[in-house]
C-alpha cells in the first residue's frame, strides 16, 4: 500500500494545496490515529533478511487542538522523538494515519508534502548540533525561504530574517554572525526563529530546553509562550522535565514503550493520574523542596524498560507494575476513560485497574486503621 498509496494520494492532491482554511480554536488541527512506526532489524550482509522490528511507536492515537500546547512525556526509548519525526514526515509511518485539517498527510510526497511541511515546523533539542556551523545566522534562518520562496520574496528576505531575530529577542545586527558566537540559550532562539520563518501553525518542540542552563531555561519557555499567543501557534511539546511540561501544557500525554498510556488535561494528569506508570513517574520527580523529603511517598519502579524489539504481551507496563494480574498479560488495555471512575479521574487511561493514588492510599489507611482497631478489640476481648 505504501508506495502506490503515496503516489496516488500525491497525484490526487492539487499542486498548490496551501491548507489555508482556518481551524477554530479548540478544534483538532492534527488527528493521529493508530500511528505505527517499526524499524526493521536485519541480519546477514549478503542476504539481508528481517529478523524482527523495533516497535518504536506502536498504535498511538490522539488529537492536537488548534492553539493548545500538548505536552508529551516519557522516559528515553518510549518513542516520543520517533513520534515527532513521523509527524514531521522525516520518517515514513509504518501504519496508521495523520490528518492535518482533515487531510491525510502521512503518505504524501513531492509538492503536497512540501505544502504541509510549511505549516508544521520543528525546534530541536540540541542547539549545538542542529545549526550548521558554517552558515551565518542570516543564512540559517533564511534557508526555509529558499524552499518556500512564496513566503518571502528574494528582496525582502534580509528584512524578514531581521524581523525574526527581533521577535525571538536577538539583536537584528547579529545577522552575519556564526552559531559559535552565541551561547546555548541564544542558539535555541535562533532555532526557534528558523522554526517560525514560514509562519507555521504547528511547532513540534523536541526537548527544546533540556540542553540549556537552569537560569536560561525560563527565558526560552517564556519566549515560546509569548510566541504562541502572538502567532496563534499549536505546540506539541516533548520533554522529560515534568515540571516544565506542566507549566507550559494545556494537555499532557504520557508514553511508555511506544504507546500512549494516559492523556488528559494538565490537572487530570498531575493531580488525578490513574495509570500506575504515570503515578510512578510523577512520584520519582525530585521536588525542589527539602521539607517534602521525609513526607514523600515515592514509588520506586524495579527493573528497566523492556526492549521495544520484544515488548511484553498484553499491557506493556506489566513487567514493572505492582498491580499486574493475569488479565494484564493477555489483554491489551485500551486508552479510554475507565467507566468506573468519575470526575477528574475519568480521563483516558490505558489500564485495566486504573485508579487514583490518593483513594488507594486512603483505602490502605482505612484498612490499617481497621486492622489496628480489630487488634485492639481482639486484645480487649482477651
Amino acid at each position: 500500500m505504501t508506495a502506490n498509496g503515496a503516489s496516488a494520494l500525491g497525484a490526487a492532491m492539487p499542486e498548490e494545496v496551501a491548507f489555508t482554511q482556518e481551524v477554530p480554536r479548540g478544534e483538532p488541527i492534527l488527528e493521529i490515529r493508530d500511528l505505527v512506526k517499526y524499524f526493521p532489524l536485519t541480519q546477514g550482509v549478503l542476504f539481508r533478511k528481517q529478523v524482527g522490528a523495533v516497535k518504536a511507536v506502536d498504535g498511538v492515537s490522539f488529537d492536537l487542538m488548534q492553539g493548545e500546547t500538548l505536552g508529551i512525556v516519557g522516559e528515553s526509548g518510549c518513542g516520543k522523538s520517533t513520534l515527532a519525526k513521523v509527524l514531521m514526515n522525516l520518517e515514513q509511518a509504518t501504519g496508521g494515519s495523520v490528518r492535518y485539517k482533515g487531510e491525510e498527510i502521512s503518505r504524501l510526497s513531492g509538492s503536497a508534502l512540501k505544502a504541509v511541511r510549511r505549516n508544521i515546523q520543528m525546534v530541536f533539542q540540541d542547539p549545538y548540533t542542529s545549526l550548521n556551523p558554517r552558515m551565518t545566522v542570516g543564512d540559517i534562518i533564511g534557508e526555509p525561504f529558499e524552499i518556500h520562496p512564496e513566503v518571502a520574496p528574494r528582496g525582502d528576505r534580509r528584512k524578514a530574517v531581521q524581523d525574526l531575530l527581533d521577535v525571538v529577542g536577538l539583536n537584528p545586527e547579529y545577522i552575519n554572525r556564526y552559531p559559535h558566537q552565541f551561547s546555548g540559550g541564544q542558539r535555541q532562539r535562533i532555532g526557534i526563529a528558523r522554526g517560525l520563518a514560514l509562519k507555521p501553525e504547528i511547532i513540534i518542540c523536541d526537548e527544546p530546553v533540556s540542553a540549556l542552563d537552569v537560569s536560561v531555561q525560563a527565558q526560552v519557555i517564556n519566549l515560546l509562550e509569548q510566541l504562541q499567543g502572538e502567532f496563534n501557534l499549536s505546540y506539541m511539546f516533548i520533554a522529560h522535565d515534568l515540571s516544565i511540561v506542566r507549566h507550559i501544557s494545556d494537555r499532557v500525554g504520557v508514553m511508555y514503550l511506544g504507546r500512549m498510556v494516559e492523556i488528559g488535561s494538565d490537572a487530570e494528569i498531575y493531580d488525578h493520574a490513574t495509570h500506575p506508570y504515570t503515578q510512578a513517574l510523577l512520584s520519582a520527580v525530585p521536588v525542589p523542596d527539602p521539607t517534602a523529603r521525609e513526607s514523600r511517598d515515592r514509588i520506586v519502579l524495579t527493573g528497566d524498560v523492556p526492549s521495544p524489539a520484544n515488548p511484553p504481551s498484553g499491557c506493556r507496563f506489566r513487567t514493572r507494575c505492582w498491580k499486574a494480574q493475569q488479565r494484564c498479560e493477555v489483554e491489551v488495555p485500551l486508552l479510554v476513560a475507565p467507566s468506573w471512575l468519575a470526575g477528574a479521574a475519568s480521563h483516558d487511561s490505558a489500564c485495566h485497574f486504573a485508579a487514583e493514588r490518593e483513594s488507594e492510599q486512603s483505602a490502605a489507611e482505612r484498612e490499617s486503621e481497621q486492622s489496628a482497631a480489630e487488634r485492639e478489640n481482639g486484645q480487649g476481648g482477651d
Binding site: 522516559e75 537552569v214 537560569s215 536560561v216 525560563a218 506542566r246 525530585p286 525542589p288
Partner: protein, 350 residues
Amino acid sequence: MGTAAQTTERERGTPYEGPLLDVRDLHVEFVTRDGVARAVNGVNYSVSAGETLAVLGESGSGKSVTAQAIMGILDMPPARIPRGEIRFRGQDMLKMSKEERRRIRGGRIAMIFQDALSSLNPVLSVGFQLGEMFRAHRGVSRKEAKDKAVELMDRVRIPAAKDRVNDYPHQFSGGMRQRIMIAMALALEPDLIIADEPTTALDVTVQAQVMDLLAELQAEFHMGLILITHDLGVVADVADKIAVMYAGRIVETAPVHDLYARPAHPYTRGLLDSIPRLDQKGQELYAIKGLPPNLLRIPTGCAFNPRCPRAQDICRAQVPELFPVTEDDGTPLEGRGSACFFWKETLHDR
C-alpha cells in the same frame, strides 16, 4: 566553613576528627589562546564523614573543575593551580608527591562521572574493570579480583551478577552502567566520594533508584559525599548542606532547609524563582536576565552584577567576600554565608 579543627598528621585508617576534606582558597586557571580563563577563583568548602555537600551551579561555574582539582585529574597544562590548599585529613594534597596522590585517588577518594558509557572502557568486560581496582591497589590475583567484582555488583543490586560479570558495558542499560560506576567507586571503601552529575543522563524513574542506592551506601560506610549538580530537585532530596557556585566562586553556603526557605544571595533566589510552580501556571516564569559570564572576561566586582536586580555601584567596584549571614538581631545562622553586599535585604525580602 573553615571550622577546621587544628589538624595534625594522622595515620591512615585511624579515626579523624576534623573535616575529611577541606578546600581552602583554591584557584584554577586555564591558559587558552585567547587569554587566561579563571575557572575557579578562591573556593572554600569542607566535608566531614557521613555528610553530603551539594555543589550547585550552572555550566561554567567551576563546580566540576574544583572536583577535578581535588581528584588531581586536571590536565596541566593547560590548567594550573596558582594558589590554594586541598587538605585531605589535614594533609595538603597539592604538596604531595605523585605517588602519594595516586594512592589516595581511587583508594581514599573516588569519583563517579556523569556519563557512565564514556567512563567505562568499551572493549573490556565490566568484571575486568571492577577487578582492576583490586589488582592495581591491593595486588590480588585475577581470580580473586573477579570474585570481588561479583560481590560488588551484588552490592549495587545488579541482578544476576554472576552471569553478567563478563558482559561488556554496551550490554547494560544506562541505570545499570551507573550502578557499575558506583560499584567501582565503592570498591576500595573510600572515605569520600565525589559524584559529578551522577544522575543527569538517566531517566527520572532510574534516577530515583540510583540516588537511593548512593545515599544508602553512603550511610552504610559513613562516607563523605560531594554531589555536584545543577538540579535543585536532586539537591533538595539528598544534601545536608549546599554551596552555590557562580563564575568560579562560592556565592552562598547554607544548610539545605535554610537555602530553600530563605536564600541570601540574589542568584540563588533567581534560580529558585525560575522553577515552574503550580500557582504560577499560565503566568510568565521568573527568568534571570542575561547570560552566564565568559570566564575570559569575568565582570569586575561581583560577577553576578550585570544580571542582578539589586546591583549598585559598590557591586561593580568591589568583589564581595562570603559574609556570615545572621538574623536581624545579630544571631549567627549556623553554616550560612552569602557573597552579596545586600544579603540582609535579600534574606528578608521573602
